[in-house]
Symmetry: C2
Subunit: 283 residues, 2 copies
């Protein structure tokens, strides 16, 4: 299944399952709520019975998850990206967090004020579908609901201010997510789908998602050793080589450029980038 | 005012305001909900009119905030603690995140399985009372609802596994919070209240909260440059010297020890520490 949260012409939102070019509307108002309610196949079957649907042209795709309670991100997780940072191959996943408010929608403008080093990081995002605590890798794999796309847009000038990356990683509404969640029965990272970032028409990152050092299920299992992951939580798995920081000379996003993030078999995110007036004030 | 979330004898929870040794019960089920609803003075006044109250002996104090949307923590923020880590005085706050599930209650057992280096970090915690975005320090100060106590219990063996500290900082139910939120009209960090950690009867950290390098309002203003803080969000301001990692020889919590965290004028947290069987499995 291909699942989404859609905005309807009346302004409301609904969880939806793709049906050809159209959407079957589930009863839940968001995919978060649908996931929390359990059996998505049953909800999709119910939607077929009610016959509630919307044409693709009539809806706007929102980030599929509006308010995950936990977003855990892994850095330094593609062999090619590790090489470009000049670091050694890590023995453990390098983890950091984002907030629900860090996410933004497919198609949404990414507006940044106060950074002059905005970089891109295409990522495969894992959507957790069940409670996971101290899981084996096999159990973690079984708890993965599906996969979507994220771009861990990073303010490098802020990220490098301290030992911890957080202040370059959690700017409101800067991490696009979506456009759909493809369930794990239809997408397997081991199949090596291509992952790419484009700036306007230029491909700046291109790799395959089977190049992950720590795979999706391995990450979920690792994280579950110290915290419980719950339905609707997100794990961002890291980015391949080709980020602006790793280029000579370095390159960052410019006002008006369009950031496209795509993974074959899932879809693509297209987000215009906007540098806004720095409204920062200091007392 | 001294505010709390209390568990009543019937098992329900309520926001509450201290009245002598007793609690006036607000209508909101949690302090999170009361803060989201706005004017706490009006809610406390309404509670005086309804006369709903509970004797201190009849309630259990929970962590005052059950589900903050954002918890932002600052490391390396006391001059004495910076010295014991051997690092230079930072130019910017060193920030990392916790999740709501990382928090636990006053009096709750802190149970850890899978770490042999569990350390303590007494911290002053700031409770945000209004939306804060790109604020001046003065505006940030005005948006602080009040203060409480946290202990950023840290699994040092995990924390040091990678460049990022997260996997040592976000273990479920390991950061005690509370027991009450003292509103900003009654508590000012500039007055230099004493902050201490005790293990059983031994004082292992003792400093004053005016020794913060980046003050409470300064931190809130800084964070608000890249994300919106909202009512009920938490900012943990960092810990003074005396952590186990900074000792020679190093010292960590042992099974059965009681961790007491206190700040004069707010109160104290007493949390028994328990090493549990490591239930980790690997596939």
């Amino acid at each position: 299944m291909r699942l989404a949260t859609v905005r309807l012409p009346d302004g409301g939102t609904r969880a939806a399952a793709a049906d050809g070019d159209d959407w079957r509307l589930l009863s839940a108002p968001t995919l978060d709520a649908a996931i929390a309610a359990g059996d998505l196949s049953a909800q999709a079957a119910a939607a077929r019975r009610t016959g509630e649907r919307a044409a693709a042209a009539d809806v706007t795709l929102l980030r599929p998850l509006l308010s995950p309670r936990k977003i855990v991100c892994c850095g330094l997780n593609y062999r090619d990206h590790i090489a470009e940072t000049g670091r050694e191959t890590p023995r453990h996943p390098t983890l950091f967090a984002k907030f629900a408010d860090t996410l933004t929608d497919p198609g949404a403008e990414i507006a940044v004020s106060g950074s002059s080093a905005v970089d891109w990081e295409a990522e495969l995002a894992v959507v957790v579908g069940a409670d996971v605590t101290r899981a084996t890798v096999a159990d973690a794999r079984a708890a993965i609901l599906g996969y979507t796309i994220a771009n861990d847009v990073s303010m490098r000038d802020w990220q490098s201010r301290t030992l911890q990356w957080m202040q370059g990683k959690v700017w409101d509404a800067t991490t696009p997510l979506g456009p759909v969640v493809v369930t794990a029965d239809e997408f397997d990272p081991a199949d090596g789908a291509r992952i790419e970032t484009l700036i306007d028409a230029e491909v700046v990152q291109s790799s395959t998602v089977d190049q992950l050092l720590f795979g999706a299920a391995e990450l979920v299992a690792y994280i579950s050793r110290f915290l419980r992951l719950s339905p609707g939580d997100l794990v961002l798995t890291g980015t391949p080589s080709g980020v602006g920081l790793g280029r000579t000379p370095r390159r960052y996003l410019s006002d008006g450029e369009v950031l496209t993030t795509r993974i074959a078999g899932i879809g693509e995110l297209r987000n215009p980038f906007r540098i806004t007036e720095d409204g920062t004030v200091s007392a």
